[in-house]
Every structure is written in C-alpha cells, then in structure tokens.
Amino acid sequence: MYKQAHYDEDFLNSFNTGNDFYMEDVEDTYPVSIKRKKLELPNVRSVDVSRHFTRLSEMNYSVDLGMYPLGSCTMKFNPKYADYVASFPQFQNVHPLESESRIQGTLEVMYRLQQLLVKISGMDFASLQPSAGAHGEFTGILIVRKFFEVKGELDKRDEIIIPDSAHGTNPASAAMAGFKVVEVPSNSKGLVDIDALKAAVTPRTAAFMITNPNTLGIFDDQIVEIADIIHKNGSLLYYDGANFNAILGITTPGIMGFDIVHFNLHKTFATPHGGGGPGAGPVAVKAYLKEYLPVPVVVMENGKYSLYYGLKNSIGKVSSYNGSYGVVLRAYAYALKNGNNLSLNARRAVMNSNYMARKLSASFEIPYKTLKKHEFVLSTARTGRRALDISKFILDYGIHSPTTYFPLIVKEAMMIEPTESVTKKDMDYYIDVMEKALEVPEDTLKSSPVNTSVGRIDEIAAARNLILKWPDPFENS
C-alpha cells in the first residue's frame, strides 16, 4: 500500500531562523526618493530552505515515482541524459543576444531540430519560437490571420471551426487572435461529423483546427476528405500536435493535408514538465506559408548557422527571445538518441493504450469501439460511480489518476494515456485498482484519498474565500 509523506509545513516567511547568505557591505549613496521603505523577504537559513523544499517534494507525485496516465497530457519517462546535456555550461550560459559566430553549437542544435520537426510532420519549414503548445496554436492562428490579411480576405474570413472534442486551448487560441469560434459536433463514431462540417464551412471560414488522432484516441480516417472540403473553400487546415506521439514515423500531418502544425516537445519528445511547465511549442508550415513564420528562424549556409529575420510576411515575435531553448535541447537529445526507435515508441504507446482499453472494457463502458491510438476514454456513468470518486480512490494506491471530465462529449469521462514508458505490470496494477474502485463500498470511495499528503480538498471554499498569498507574520505585531 502507498503512503505519501505529510508535513504540516510552515510558510517560508514564518521561519525566521536568520538568513545566512553572506555578502560584504557595499556603499549606498542613492537618493531616498528612489528607495523602497521596507522589504520583507523570508529570513531563513539556507539549510531550512533546503529542508523545506525537500519535505515539500516528498509531498509531490511525479513520473519518476510511478504511472501518470494523464490522457491528453502525455506523461512519459524523462530520460536523464537529456537533462544532463542541457546542463552543459556551454549551452546554459549563453546570452540570447550573443553574436552568432560564438554560438554555432547552440544554433546547430536549433537548426537540426527544425529540420527534424519538418521531416516528421511532412511540412517544409519550422520556427522554434513559441513557448508552449497553446502558444504554438496562437502562433499558428496568427499565421492564418496574416495569410488572409495579405490576400486581402481578412474582412471576410473571421471564423475558425473546431470540433467539440478539441482541447480547450484550441478555441481559446482562436478567440485570442480575434476569430469567432464555430464548434462542430462529433458523430457516433467519435469522429468529425462530415455533414455538420460541410454545413459549418462557409466563405467566412479561415481555418479548421483539429488533432488527429483526436482526444478520444481515435484516428480520423476521413482526414483527406476533410482536407479537401477545407481547401476547396480556400481555408487552411491546422494540426494540433498534442497527440503527435501516436503517429510519429507512421504518418504525417503533411500527407494528411494539413497546412500548419504545432508540436508539444514535452509530450512528443519526453522533456520533463516541472509541475506545469516549461514546455515548448514549435510551429511548422508548408512552403507557401514560410514567409509568415515568426522570426528569427535558424538557417545554414556553407556550414555556418545564423538567425534569419528576412521573412517577408513574418508575424514578427511571439516570445521574448529565441524560444524555450532548454526544452529544445532536451528534445533534440531525445530525438537523436532514439532515431528510428521514435516510431517504435509510437507503436508501443499505441499497443499499451489498446491493451488497457481492452482490459478495462470488461468493467467500464468504452465508447466508440474502434482501435485506439495513444489514449482512450472510458465512462464511469453506467457503473453508478463518479469519475471524480474513482480518481480520488486510485490515488491511495500510489498511482496518478487519468484526466477526468474531458473530453466534454463523454459523460463521467476518464481519459487514459499509458505511453510507451509503462510496463505490463504497471498497467495490470492500474487495471486492478480501477476494478477495485467498483467493488469497494461507496463510502470508501467518497472518503478517498486517505494515504495522500492531504485528504479531499474543499475546492469551493478556495474559490469563495480567495487566499492567494501567505499571511504577513508582522501584521499583528
């Protein structure tokens, strides 16, 4: 049985053990008109800082501890060689405004990853600038916008179509770039409803934004027909790369007819995700959209790498400097290490997903009875038990819960993505625990979890009585 640590850990600003970071006294001749009156950072010895975070870390679940099958979020093992090479001082200590002649190694990594992303996506050019998947989506939609602006059609093309099974970031990114979002329903197979799509496509349509395989883990084999419908209308087809790890080396967005792709490097290439970030969301496009990419991109001529700013219709900048280089470097290491095994990883991930789906179908309803790709969605609705309660119950067994209540089109949804980095034993254990959740008394479920650092949390109270910072220890003194 699992037992997570619990510490009644104080806030750092209440430690008061005396800061011991030593610096010699320095001259201070600055006018009082620019100076702050008080600064009260935590006054704590570094040994206590170290222990504080060590204790906190023991109250945190991670991929390095066990299975983490967050559907749609792809949590796979993060190989340590990637972190190791990212810690090389020759890479870590490079300033973003450093002259190109001094950082040929840094630029070479970027160039090679750009080329690799182009190859695996079936696109023609890539930019590494976006900082996360959703940021890549926003960048892609800015490209769509600029494309129609240059064509003089922006006034007419103000809508983006998105399936109802899409990630929430898709409609949010489209809206952020000033487009109206039109949602199309999925059909009974969990795929794009072609008739509904045809009805939604109008002269106002700028783009259709989808992921394939979709969030139900199903490959939409109508994709060529969809691309045709979209392109005949003069619209663009956008690929959300969140699920790319399921098809890497097997098929490409390019051959499916997509015009723009973003990648989630932390999902497809196994870079650690740090409790919510950083990520990286490079964007790749077909040749005719190259001039719209954000700048700079890395180019190579006669073996020399340089940053290129000359793209004629570039959307400009979307992040401060040159993108999430630390993540790019880890992804590059992973890609180089795996080589052709990248597609074996995709196979393994798909195999594991199908294994779990088949096994769990004995106890849970799994809508859409087709082959799964990287993930699948089950519904707890007919078991009489809530997805929320089951997700809390399984925490007690030392495993992370799947994504719950997404996609929105499945009732009491649990979305499971085992990835290639789990073993059969891991999966069998998970399946056992999921089945056990249907056998235990309802009360046990409702009172779960009990073995985690804290028990079930009052989320409504947190929103109603908003406390977003620690108490001031000096307030009442």
């Binding site: 610096m23 702050r36 900082s131 929430g168 409790g275």
Partner: protein
C-alpha cells in the same frame, strides 16, 4: 515470450503493424530518422556540438537577460525529480508539494512588488506585458494603450500580436533629454480613451525613472502597467508603491540560467479587484476534509479548459518549475542579499560610466542606471577582436530614432571591476 508478444496475443493481433490498421495505406509514410544511439555516444556527440560554442572572455550583454550568480541550492531544488517530472497539479491531494511551492511563489512575488495578487507564472517577461495590456482592455474596454517610444522592438511586436483581435490602438509617448518619461507629453496623450499606460522601471535606456513614480497621479481612469526589474526591487520603490494596477517582469535573473533566452519566467501581479479578469493559473489556500491546510488550483472557471473560447487566456503549460527556482532564489538571498545585489549592480554601473568616460566614451545620460548603460559607441568590431560580448546597439533593439550611434554595456554583481577597467582600456585605445 516477451511482454510485447503477450500483449499482442491478448489483443489478438499478429503484429504491432496492425495497431495502425486504421490509418489508410495512402497516408502511411516511412522515414529514416537515423540509427538509435547509445547513451555514451549521444553524450559525446552533444559534447562535441557544445564545444562549437566559444564563450566570451568578458560579457557585458544584458537588456532583459542577465548573467547573475545562482546559488547551487537553486538548481538542486528544481532538479528534484518530484518537482522536475511532475505535471500540472490536476489531482491536488497528491501534488501538495508543487502547489505549496507555487502558492509561496505567488506570495513572495506579491511581497517583492507590493502587489495584492501574483499568478503562478507566465511564459516570459514580454508575453506577460502583452497579457497585461489585454487584461486592462478586458477590465475597461477602452481602446488606446500608451507605450514608451523607446520600447524594445520585440516587445512591441509581441504586444501588437497579442492585441491583434482587439479594437486597440498603440500610441507612443516621449522621453526627455534626461532619458526619463516626458511627463507633459504623456499627460497630453492620456484621455478617456486610454485603457492602459505602460511604464518601464528601470526604463529601456537602463535608467531608474523617477518620473514613473508619478504617472499614477496623472493617469485618470486608465490602468498603470509597470514593467520592472525584479532584482532592482531589492532597493527601488516597488510597483505597488506607486499605484501600479498590473506589474509584470522577466524573472530570469532570479536563479534561472540564461539558456540562450529560454525557458524564461513571466512575473504577473495585479490589484485584487481584477482577479476574475486575470490570465493564467492561480493557486489558492483551502483545507482538506480533516481541516488540514491544503492548496488547489482555483478560479479555474476563467481558464481555457473550462471556459474555452471565452477564457481569460489560452495558457495551459506555464513556467511552474522556474517559478519554484525564483522562490528558492529569493528565499536564499533574503532581503539583505537582494538589496546588496541591487546596490552592487548600481555601483558597477557607476564605475562603468566613470571608466568609459575617462576612456573618452561618453554615457548618453547622467541619471542613475541599474544594469544597462547606454554610451555613445559604435566600434563594435573592436569588441569582437578582443573576445568581448556586449555593445548592443540601441538601434538593434528598438525603433526609437534618437541616439543613433549608441550602444549598451550591462553589468551584474558578477561583473569584475578588472573587466570594466579592461573594457575601458581596450575601447579607449
């Protein structure tokens, strides 16, 4: 029988190829992604690539990203696998470590800036600034934003991209000969159409801009957005001390390696009355069913996964790990440490101005500089020849039309006095 065979047998399929039977043949591709490498070869190969980088002998590059001292404990903390390899804390009961840390990050940045609320991080400083402009527009619906005329080109480009779908006009206000905000010009441009006013302190010339402390007195009903330098707040009046509504910054200097400019850390704070209009994730304090202190992601109804096209932002992945790094950094430094780093930085700037002046290279402004110092200087080839990084032209960073032949030399607490003397010696020759 291998595990794979067992699973395939269970699935009743003969080869793993059949796992892709749903992908039509004409969509199948084959590609050569290279032979897999063993770990030793990989490390050797990437070491070789890293070796192609030539570190400068002296580095005076800054303008937003700085080579500051990082206490080794910071890397140790964020290198802990429990933080490093975890995901967004969607299951809070099993993720209290990262939630507690991010709550403390929100707290420490709120204390540092004297702002009410800080979210649990944005991508970087420039996107934070752009999101702040969007947030102000959501709050008051007005359609003009006033920005400094010397704003970095990349910053302006990001703002333009972020407001592309809004009915918002960007207007530039002027700077005086002292390098500080021209208050008369700014005042003349503020009207009931003004949604927000962006000020930078230190400003884009590198100066502590005392005029920025008085913008709130003339801003009428517009929102004041302050772009600040977090290390400078060890000494300087914080944004909350002069009526700032939304305070944003680049947090890289707080314990994060330069990494060629990414990943970075966007700091984002604001007054509490605007919390429901704010972008990004917020961690709130609550309690569990046994009454114990417990943390959760809160006000999620503002976010993309719930609100979809009506969300306050599209942010999903943020910079959680780097937020923890900055929290660790500030805790290790403490008030005294941060104050001294700010002072040393400013003293080095003074020293740099004096040394280069003596070498015949004049500073553009007389004011108080933080890290960045602007000089009349255009002999960049001399720097390259001497293995020195720095001397970034103002015109390379900004579309600002003044001070054509000027360049930046930046310092931090790591800049050795001898380096400043040597720089002066070389460019004075």
């Amino acid at each position: 029988m291998t595990e794979t065979d067992e699973i395939l047998q269970y699935l009743n399929i003969s080869s793993d190829e059949d796992l892709f039977a749903d992908i039509p043949g004409r969509l199948r591709v084959s590609m050569d992604l290279g032979s897999p490498m063993d770990e030793l070869s990989l490390i050797n190969s990437i070491s070789k690539t890293a070796g192609k980088n030539i570190p400068p002998e002296m580095n005076f590059l800054g303008n937003g990203i700085y080579d500051r001292f990082i206490p080794p404990l910071v890397d140790e903390i964020i290198g802990r696998n429990e933080f490093l390899t975890s995901y967004t804390p969607y299951q809070p009961e099993i993720s209290q470590g990262i939630l507690h840390s991010l709550f403390e990050y929100q707290s420490i940045i709120s204390d540092l800036t004297e702002m009410d609320v800080t979210n649990s991080s944005m991508y970087d400083g420039f996107t934070s600034l752009a999101e702040a402009v969007r947030m102000a527009y959501r709050i008051n619906g007005r359609n003009e934003v006033l920005v400094p005329e010397n704003i970095y080109r990349s910053q302006l480009s990001i703002i333009e991209n972020y407001v592309i779908g809004l009915n918002l006009r960007i207007i530039k206000y002027k700077f005086g000969n002292d390098g500080l905000i021209d208050m008369e010009d700014l005042k003349s441009k503020i009207s009931d159409r003004t949604s927000s006013i962006v000020v930078a302190n230190p400003n884009f010339f590198g100066l502590i801009d005392e005029n920025s402390f008085h913008v709130s007195e003339i801003k009428k009903d517009a929102l004041l957005i302050t772009y600040y330098d977090p290390v400078s707040l060890g000494l300087i009046i914080p944004p909350g001390g002069y009526g700032t509504d939304i305070a944003v910054a680049e947090g890289q200097q707080l314990g994060i390696h330069m990494n060629y400019g990414g990943p970075l850390l966007g700091l984002f704070s604001f007054k509490k009355e605007y919390v429901h209009r704010s972008p990004g994730r917020l961690i709130g304090l609550s309690n569990d069913n046994a009454g114990r202190k417990a943390f959760v992601m809160t006000l999620q109804a503002r976010e993309q996964h719930i609100r979809r096209s009506k969300a306050m932002s599209n942010i999903c992945s943020n910079q959680a790990l780097l937020a923890v790094a900055s929290l660790a950094y500030l805790s290790i430094m403490g008030s005294d440490g941060l104050k001294k780093i700010a002072l040393i930085t400013m003293n080095k700037s003074k020293r740099m101005k004096s040394a280069l002046s003596h070498a015949g290279v004049a500073p553009v402004f007389n004011g108080i500089n933080f890290s960045d110092n602007l000089f009349y200087f255009d002999r960049q080839e001399k720097l390259a020849a001497n293995n020195i990084s720095g001397g970034i032209r103002l015109s390379d960073l900004s579309d600002y039309q003044g001070y054509k032949n000027s360049a930046f030399f930046s310092v931090t607490e790591k800049t050795a006095d001898e380096s400043i003397e040597r720089l002066a010696g070389i460019i004075g020759e």
